[in-house]
C-alpha cells in the first residue's frame, strides 16, 4: 500500500498543498480530479519524486521513504506515464524501455542487443503491443507510444520488490475512442501487477475506470468518493464549489460594454489542425472569457488573433479592417497586446530593467531616427509604476528579480502604455497570491472603463464568471455554448462545466 500523510508544499506566495492525505491499495485504480491550479500536478510530482514535500511523509507498506529524484521513486516501484511523452524519438523502442537501466544486458562494456530485444518483447507483451522492439520510436503512432511508455514503466516490475504504483497523467487526451478503450482494457488487465493513479479532466472516463476518486480543491482533498455510487454532477460541484464573493472579482465595478463599437471580429475562422469555424465579436469595454479544459484549443484562438499562426480560413477584422498579413508586428501595430501564460519565457526579458521592458514593443514612439529618448522612457516607466502601483525600487530595477504579480503589471503596462485596445490575458493570475490577484482584477476593470476589449483565459471558472461580460465555452476547438455574464445574470460554474467535459 502506498500512502501520503499530511503532505504540505509551499511555493513563494502560494500554499499549494495543505495537509494532503492519500492512499492507494495494491491493485487499486484511483482517480484524481481537480480544477487547474488545484495542486494536482504538484501532488503527482511529489508522488513520483520530482518535487519534495515541505512536510508530511511518503510511506510504502507503512515504511517511510524519501525520494530525492524520480529515480529514487522508480527504485521503490513508482512509475510515471507522462502526458508529454518522455520517449526519445530517435532511439529504438527497446532502447527507450531500458534507458538508464541497460546494465543487465551489458557484458564487457558491450550491449547484447538480442537479449535486450527479448526482454523488451516481454514488456511489450504485457501491454499487448505487437511491434518489433528494434523499431525507431518516432515511427509509432501516438497511441502506440503511449503503450510503450506504459511498458517502460512496467519494466520496473522485474527490478523492484513489491507492487508497482503507476501514474497516468491525462493519458487519453489525444487518443481516439477506440484507442481509449484499448488502453483501459490493458490497465484493467494490469491490476494484478500494479495499482494506478489516473488523472484526467474527463470525469466520465475517471468514473468508468477507477475504484475511488480523490477530489482536490485549492490544495486540499475535499472528498473521496466511491466510483460505483458517485455521480459526475456531485463531483463537479465539489471540484468548483467555494464561497464566491462578489467583491473579490470587483463585480460592483463591472459596467455594461459598448455594443455599438466592435473592436475585433472573427468571422468563420478555422485554426490550423481544427475542423471547426469560430466566429465572435469583441466590443469596447467588454471582457470575453474563453472557458474550456486544458487542450480545448483556447490558446490557438489567441495565437491566431496575435498573428502567431495564420488561420486556414475565415477573416479577422480589427476595427473593421480585415487583417491581410499575419505577423506579430502587424498585430501589435493594430493595437493587439498578448500577455502569455509563461511570463518568464514570453512576457518578461530577465536581465532587462523595468523601463526597457515597458517600451520594448513601442520603441518607435520613443526614438527619433533610431536614437532613443531615454528621458521620455524613464518618465513613462515612472508614470506606470505609479498608476499600477508596481512595487519596485526604481524603473532601473531588473525585472527578473520582481515577484510574479509585479512582473505581470510590467507586462500589462507595456501593452497599455503603447495604446493597445485589445488585450489578451492568458492565465493572468496563475501563481499569484490573493493580493496580487485582486490587483489584476482591478486592472481588468480599469481597462474596461477605458474602453479596452479584453479576451481572458481565466485560471478558474469563478474567475472567468466573476470578471467577464460574455463567456464562450470551447470544447475540442469549437465554441459549444455562449453565456451572458452581465452582473445579476451570471451562470454558475456548474452550468459551464456541463458543456466543458
Amino acid at each position: 500500500m502506498f500512502e501520503l500523510k499530511n503532505v504540505e508544499k509551499r511555493y513563494p506566495g502560494v500554499h499549494v498543498l495543505k495537509g494532503v492525505d492519500f492512499h492507494i491499495n495494491d491493485g487499486e485504480i484511483v482517480g484524481l480530479v481537480g480544477e487547474n491550479g488545484a495542486g494536482k500536478s504538484t501532488l503527482m510530482k511529489i508522488i513520483y519524486g520530482a518535487v519534495q514535500p515541505d512536510a508530511g511523509s511518503v510511506l510504502i507498506d507503512g515504511k517511510p521513504l524519501y525520494f530525492r529524484t524520480p529515480r529514487d521513486a522508480m527504485r521503490a516501484g513508482i512509475g510515471m506515464v507522462y502526458q508529454e511523452q518522455s520517449l526519445i524519438p530517435n532511439l529504438t523502442v527497446m532502447e527507450n524501455i531500458f534507458l538508464g537501466f541497460e546494465a543487465p544486458f551489458v557484458r564487457m562494456g558491450a550491449i547484447n542487443w538480442r537479449k535486450m530485444a527479448q526482454a523488451a518483447q516481454h514488456q511489450l507483451n504485457k501491454v499487448k503491443l505487437d511491434i518489433d522492439p528494434a523499431i525507431i520510436t518516432s515511427r509509432l503512432t501516438f497511441a502506440q507510444r503511449q503503450l510503450v511508455e506504459l511498458a517502460k514503466v512496467l519494466a520496473l516490475e522485474e527490478r523492484v520488490e513489491g507492487r508497482l504504483v503507476i501514474l497516468l497523467d491525462e493519458p487519453t487526451s489525444v487518443l481516439s475512442r477506440k484507442e481509449i478503450e484499448l488502453l483501459f482494457d490493458v490497465v484493467r488487465e494490469l491490476r494484478r501487477r500494479a495499482s494506478f493513479i489516473f488523472v484526467s479532466h474527463r470525469l466520465d472516463e475517471i468514473l468508468a475506470l477507477s475504484d475511488r476518486v480523490y477530489v482536490l480543491k485549492d490544495g486540499a482533498i475535499v472528498d473521496v468518493v466511491n466510483s460505483r455510487q458517485a455521480q459526475a454532477e456531485s463531483i463537479q460541484k465539489k471540484m468548483v464549489g467555494r464561497d464566491i464573493n462578489e467583491q473579490y472579482y470587483r463585480e460592483d465595478r463591472q459596467l455594461a460594454y459598448r455594443d455599438d463599437k466592435i473592436l475585433l471580429e472573427l468571422d468563420r475562422v478555422v485554426c490550423k489542425g481544427r475542423p471547426h469555424e469560430i466566429s465572435f465579436k469583441l466590443h469596447a469595454g467588454e471582457v470575453l472569457a474563453l472557458v474550456g479544459v486544458e487542450g480545448a484549443g483556447r490558446e490557438k484562438i489567441l495565437r491566431s488573433i496575435f498573428g502567431m499562426t495564420r488561420p486556414e480560413k475565415g477573416s479577422i477584422r480589427v476595427d473593421g479592417e480585415t487583417m491581410r498579413a499575419f505577423s506579430v508586428s502587424n498585430s501589435v501595430a493594430h493595437g493587439v497586446g498578448y500577455i502569455p501564460r509563461e511570463r518568464k519565457v514570453e512576457g518578461i526579458a530577465g536581465g532587462m530593467n523595468v523601463y526597457e521592458n515597458m517600451t520594448l514593443s513601442q520603441l518607435k514612439g520613443y526614438s527619433t531616427g533610431g536614437v532613443l529618448k531615454l528621458g521620455a522612457e524613464h518618465e513613462l516607466a515612472r508614470e506606470w509604476i505609479r498608476k499600477l502601483s508596481i512595487k519596485v525600487p526604481s524603473e532601473n530595477a531588473d525585472c527578473g528579480n520582481l515577484s510574479g504579480g509585479n512582473q505581470q503589471k510590467v507586462v500589462l503596462a507595456k501593452w497599455r502604455s503603447s495604446g493597445s485596445r485589445i488585450i489578451m490575458l492568458d492565465h493572468p493570475t496563475r501563481g499569484l497570491d490573493i493580493g496580487a490577484k485582486e490587483d489584476v482584477y482591478d486592472m481588468v476593470r480599469e481597462m474596461s472603463e477605458k474602453g479596452v476589449g479584453v479576451i481572458l483565459i481565466a485560471d478558474t471558472l469563478e474567475e472567468a464568471i466573476g470578471l467577464s461580460h460574455t463567456i464562450a465555452v470551447v470544447k475540442d476547438g469549437e465554441i459549444k455554448q455562449w453565456f451572458n455574464c452581465q452582473p445579476g445574470s451570471k451562470p454558475s460554474p456548474f452550468d459551464l462545466i456541463r458543456h466543458m467535459v
Binding site: 501589435v332 530577465g350 536614437v371
Partner: protein, 321 residues
C-alpha cells in the same frame, strides 16, 4: 534578495578588479611595467583588437556568435590598400575613398554572413566560420599572395604621431568605442539586441523583426572588423591575407573575459574594453617580466574558462551542451 544583488554586483566588477590586479602584479615584478611608454605599447597592440572585439560584442549580445572576423579583416585590409594605392597613394587626396571602401567591404561581408545565417537558417557558428574561410581565400585571390606596402606618411601618422605619449590610433579607437557605446545604449537597434539575447520569443512577441535585427548586428560587426583592419594596416604598414590572423581567438577571448555572457543579453562594449585590456596586459606583462610567450596562450585559456565559469548562471542549465 539582498545577498543575490550584492553577488551580482561583485560579478559585474570582477573583470575590472582582475585588470587592476594584473597591473599591480606585473608592476611589483618589474616596475618598468607601469610607465607611459609601456602603456602606449599595450595600447598599440590593443587598438585593432578592440575594434574587432567591439564588433563581435553586438553579435554575442544577441546570443549568436561570429567567427568570420579573420576573413573579413583580410578582405577589408586588402581592399583598403588597393584603393589607396590605386588612387594616388595618400589619404589626403582621392585615396581617402579607401576608408569608406574598406568599411563597405566589411559591411557587405557582414550582410552576407547575416543573410546566410537568417535566411538559410544555418547556425551562426557554422555560417560565420565558413564565411571566414571564404574571406581569407578571397583576399588571397585579390593579392595573389603578395604583401601590399602602404607608405603614405599621413596614414602612418596614426602610429607615428603621438599625443600625450599615445599614438593617434588610440584616440581613433576610443572615438569608435564611444560610437559603439552610443549604438548600444541610445539606439533602438542596440536595445533590441539585448532583447533578443534576453529572450528571442519575447522579442518576437513584442513585434520586433528579429531576423532583420540579426542581419543588422552582423553588418555592424563587419564594419567594426573593417575599422580594426584599417588600424592593423596602420600599425604595420602592410596589408596582406595574414592581416587578420589571430584576431578570432583574441577578440572572442576579450569579449568573454570582459564579462559579456555567451548566452546573450548581458554585458556590452565597456566590458569588451576591459577584456581587451586584460588580454593585452597579460601578453605585454609576460614579456616584461621575461616569461616565454607560450605561457601567454596557456594563461589566456585558463582565463577564458574562469570567465565563463563566473559569468554563467549555471542554475539555469540542467545540462550544458
Amino acid at each position: 534578495m539582498a545577498p543575490h544583488i550584492s553577488g551580482e554586483t561583485i560579478r559585474r566588477w570582477i573583470p575590472l578588479l582582475v585588470l587592476l590586479g594584473l597591473v599591480l602584479f606585473f608592476t611589483t615584478l618589474n616596475p618598468h611595467f607601469l610607465s607611459v611608454r609601456n602603456f602606449a605599447r599595450i595600447a598599440i597592440s590593443a587598438t585593432p583588437a578592440l575594434m574587432v572585439a567591439v564588433g563581435v560584442t553586438f553579435v554575442i549580445l544577441m546570443g549568436s556568435i561570429d567567427l568570420s572576423m579573420e576573413g573579413t579583416i583580410a578582405v577589408a585590409a586588402v581592399v583598403f590598400a588597393l584603393i589607396l594605392n590605386r588612387l594616388g597613394g595618400s589619404v589626403m587626396g582621392m585615396g581617402c575613398l579607401a576608408i569608406p571602401g574598406a568599411l563597405a567591404a566589411g559591411a557587405a561581408l557582414g550582410a552576407i554572413n547575416g543573410l546566410i545565417h537568417v535566411k538559410l537558417k544555418i547556425p551562426s557558428f557554422m555560417a560565420s566560420l565558413s564565411l571566414g574561410f571564404v574571406g581569407v581565400g578571397l583576399a588571397l585571390l585579390i593579392t595573389g599572395g603578395d604583401r601590399i606596402l602602404i607608405a603614405d606618411p599621413v596614414f602612418r601618422s596614426l602610429l607615428t604621431v603621438r599625443l600625450g605619449g599615445f599614438p593617434l590610433m588610440t584616440y581613433v579607437a576610443l572615438f569608435c568605442l564611444v560610437v559603439a557605446w552610443f549604438i548600444q545604449a541610445n539606439t533602438t537597434t542596440g536595445r533590441n539586441f539585448y532583447a533578443i539575447g534576453g529572450g528571442e520569443e519575447l522579442a518576437r512577441g513584442s513585434g520586433l523583426n528579429v531576423g532583420r535585427l540579426r542581419i543588422i548586428a552582423f553588418v555592424i560587426a563587419g564594419i567594426f572588423y573593417a575599422l580594426g583592419a584599417i588600424l592593423a594596416v596602420a600599425r604595420l604598414g602592410i596589408a596582406e591575407t595574414e592581416t587578420g590572423r589571430n584576431f578570432m581567438f583574441i577578440s572572442i577571448t576579450s569579449v568573454v573575459v570582459g564579462g559579456t555572457a555567451l548566452a546573450g543579453g548581458s554585458g556590452g562594449v565597456w566590458n569588451t574594453l576591459i577584456g581587451v585590456l586584460i588580454v593585452n596586459v597579460i601578453g605585454n606583462g609576460m614579456v616584461v617580466i621575461g616569461l616565454p610567450d607560450y605561457f601567454q596562450d596557456g594563461m589566456l585559456g585558463l582565463l577564458v574558462i574562469s570567465a565563463v565559469y563566473l559569468s554563467m548562471d549555471r542554475r539555469a542549465f540542467s545540462f550544458v551542451k
